[in-house]
Subunit: 330 residues, 2 copies
C-alpha cells in the first residue's frame, strides 16, 4: 500500500511537471504574436534539441549570434554609441579649447551634428578617437558605466538600456533555456557594450564580439594598465562579422539574428553550415511604437539582406505585426 | 517512527556525501606531491569559493587562464606547432619546386633546421605563412586534425596530445569543478589549438586565445569561406597576452599559469586586480622525465618571470619535486 501511494505520488508529480513544461514552452515568447516568425523560432528550437532526431545539435554547438543595434536595442535617430560620443565631446570640451575652431568638434559644440558629419568617415573617426581613446580600459569602462546609468534617449526620455526589445529578451532567454550559448556580434564597440550586456541581456563579456581600437600594455607607476590607442583594430561589420565570429567563437553559429545589410555576411556564414540553421532579420516597420525604415535609411539600412532573406526563406520579423510589445515600458 | 527512520536515513546520506566530498577534495590533484605548490592551489580555491568569506569570488568572475606550450603540454625540442610546420613543408614541397633552391625551404628539405632558422624571424614567418595561409579556415582545420591524430614526437614517439601534463589536467578539472571558466592564452596559433583543445583539455574553441593571421570573408562559387591570408593579425605573447585577454575575455583573470617570460605580463595583469589572486609558473627542472631548462633556453626561456615570481611570492612549480607524474603514459 505504501508502495502504491508512492507510485501514485510520483505519477502525479510527473504529470504536473509535464504540464508545467508544456506551459513554459507556450509562454516563453509571450511578447510575440502567433505567426510565421514565432513559429519558425519555436520549431527550429524543437528540432535541434530533440535527441535522436536527424536535426539534433549537441549543446556545445548551439551557438547563437545576435547583432545589437536595431536587433536587440533601438538605433534611431542615431546609433546610441554615437550619442554617447557626442555627450563625451561636450564633457571633454573644457580640456580642449582648440575644439572651438576645429572641425568636426566646432560644429558639434554648436549643436550642429549634420555639419560635423559633413566631414564624412574621417569626421566620425576623429570623434570616436577623441572620445574613446587616450585612457586606460578601466577608465573607459567607468565612463561608459556612468553614462549608461543616467543618459536619456532624446525621443523617449528613457534610459538607453530600457530601449531593448522585449521580444528579443524573451528569445535570448528561450535559447539559453534550451542549451544555447548566446553571443552579441555587433558593429558597435566591444568595450562600449561589455559594461552593461551581462545585466541587460545576461550575456557576459567573453560572449561579446564587436569593433575595437588597439590597446597597449604598459606599466604606469609600476601598475599594469591597458592604454586605449587612437588606432582602429577591427571593424566588426559586414564581411567583418564572420571574421569576428571565427576569431572569438571559433565555431559557426547555428542561429543568427540581425536587422541590416551589415548582418548579411553573418547570416550567409551561418546558413552555409551543414544541417538545419536559423537566420533571422528584424524589419523595422512600426513608426508608431518604434521607427519604420529599411532600404534607404542611413542608419541600419536593410536592402540586400531583405532581398536575400526573401529569396532564401529566412525569417523576417515584421515588428508591427509580429511583436505584441516592443519595449517593456509600453 | 517512520519520521525518525527518514531522519536517520537523511543523516546517513548527508554523512556519506560529506565523506565523499572530502575524499574528492583530497583526491582531485592526485598527481601532485604534497608541498607548497599543491597547498597554494588548494588553499586559493577554498578561499575564493567560500561564500561569505572576504575573499569570495562570484562564479562569473572565476576566470582562469593558462599558457599552453610548456604549461599544459611540452615544448621541447621545439614548439610543437613549429614541428607541424616542418612536416607541412615536406608535404607541400612537390607543389613548390622553387623551394629546392629557395631559403629557408631548401635547408629544411635537406633536414637542416638550424640552417633554415639562420634567417631569423623572417625565415620563421616565411615558414609559418607558407604552411598556415593560402587556404580556407575549414581546410586548415582538417590539416591540423589529420596531423595531430597521427604525428609522433621525435623523442618520445608519442602523439603530441599525449604529451600534456597530467597534473595540469587535474588542476584544470579541479578549477572547473569549483565554478571556474578555464581559458588557454597562448603564443601558439589560435586555429592550430582549437581543433583539439576541447577533447584534450575540455576547453572549447571560444575559450582559446592565441596568435593569428588575418582572414578574409569571400564567396567562392557562391559559398562563403574565410580565406587565411599571409599577414600577421595578432601575436599573443608577452605584452600581447593582457591585450588578448582583454579582447577575448573582457574580464581580468583571478588565476593565471604560465612557464616562461612570455607569460610575465599575463601574471602581472592578473596580480594587479583587487582581492586574492593566484599566479603560477611551471619550472622545468626534470631532465629525466621531461626536460630541464630555464634562464638560457631559446624555447620557453624563464628568467625575468622567475625573478619576479620569487620576489612576489607567486607559486613556482618545481616539476621534479612537485609532480608525482608528468605524463599519463608514464
Amino acid at each position: 500500500m505504501n508502495r502504491l501511494r508512492v507510485l501514485f505520488a510520483c505519477t502525479l508529480l510527473a504529470g504536473l511537471s509535464l504540464v508545467s513544461a508544456v506551459a513554459f514552452a507556450q509562454d516563453s515568447l509571450p511578447s510575440w504574436n502567433d505567426g510565421k516568425a514565432k513559429q519558425s523560432i519555436v520549431s527550429f528550437v524543437e528540432k535541434v534539441t530533440k535527441e535522436g532526431s536527424a536535426d539534433f545539435v549537441p549543446v556545445a554547438e548551439r551557438i547563437a549570434t545576435f547583432d545589437n543595434d536595431g536587433t536587440l536595442w533601438a538605433e534611431q535617430p542615431m546609433y546610441f554609441q554615437f550619442l554617447f560620443a557626442l555627450d563625451r565631446v561636450k564633457v571633454l570640451a573644457p580640456q580642449h579649447p582648440e575644439w572651438k575652431t576645429k572641425e568636426p568638434f566646432a560644429s558639434l559644440l554648436k549643436g550642429n551634428v549634420k555639419g560635423a558629419l559633413a566631414g564624412g568617415e574621417r569626421a566620425m573617426v576623429e570623434i570616436v578617437m577623441a572620445t574613446h581613446a587616450g585612457m586606460t580600459t578601466e577608465e573607459f569602462e567607468t565612463v561608459v558605466r556612468d553614462w549608461i546609468a543616467g543618459a536619456k534617449h532624446p525621443k523617449t526620455g528613457r534610459l538607453y538600456t530600457e530601449m531593448v526589445y522585449q521580444p528579443m529578451l524573451e528569445l535570448i532567454a528561450h535559447l539559453r533555456a534550451n542549451g544555447f550559448k548566446t553571443f552579441i556580434v555587433s558593429g558597435g564597440g566591444i568595450e562600449f557594450m561589455r559594461p552593461w550586456t551581462e545585466k541587460v541581456y545576461g550575456i557576459p563579456p567573453q560572449q561579446v564580439v564587436g569593433s575595437s581600437i588597439k590597446t597597449k600594455f604598459e606599466l604606469r607607476d609600476g601598475k599594469p594598465v591597458l592604454m586605449r590607442l587612437p588606432e582602429l583594430n577591427f571593424i566588426d561589420d559586414g564581411a567583418g562579422k564572420p571574421v569576428g565570429i571565427n576569431q572569438h567563437i571559433g565555431r559557426r553559429p547555428v542561429f543568427a539574428f540581425g536587422n541590416s545589410d551589415g548582418d548579411l555576411q553573418m547570416l550567409q556564414w551561418t546558413a552555409a553550415g551543414g544541417g538545419v540553421r536559423f537566420m533571422g532579420l528584424v524589419h523595422h516597420t512600426d513608426a508608431a511604437r518604434e521607427w519604420a525604415y529599411d532600404r534607404t535609411s542611413a542608419i541600419g539600412r536593410l536592402d540586400k539582406a531583405l532581398d536575400e532573406a526573401q529569396a532564401k526563406g529566412w525569417t523576417v520579423v515584421d515588428m508591427k505585426t509580429d511583436w505584441k510589445r516592443v519595449f517593456a515600458f509600453e
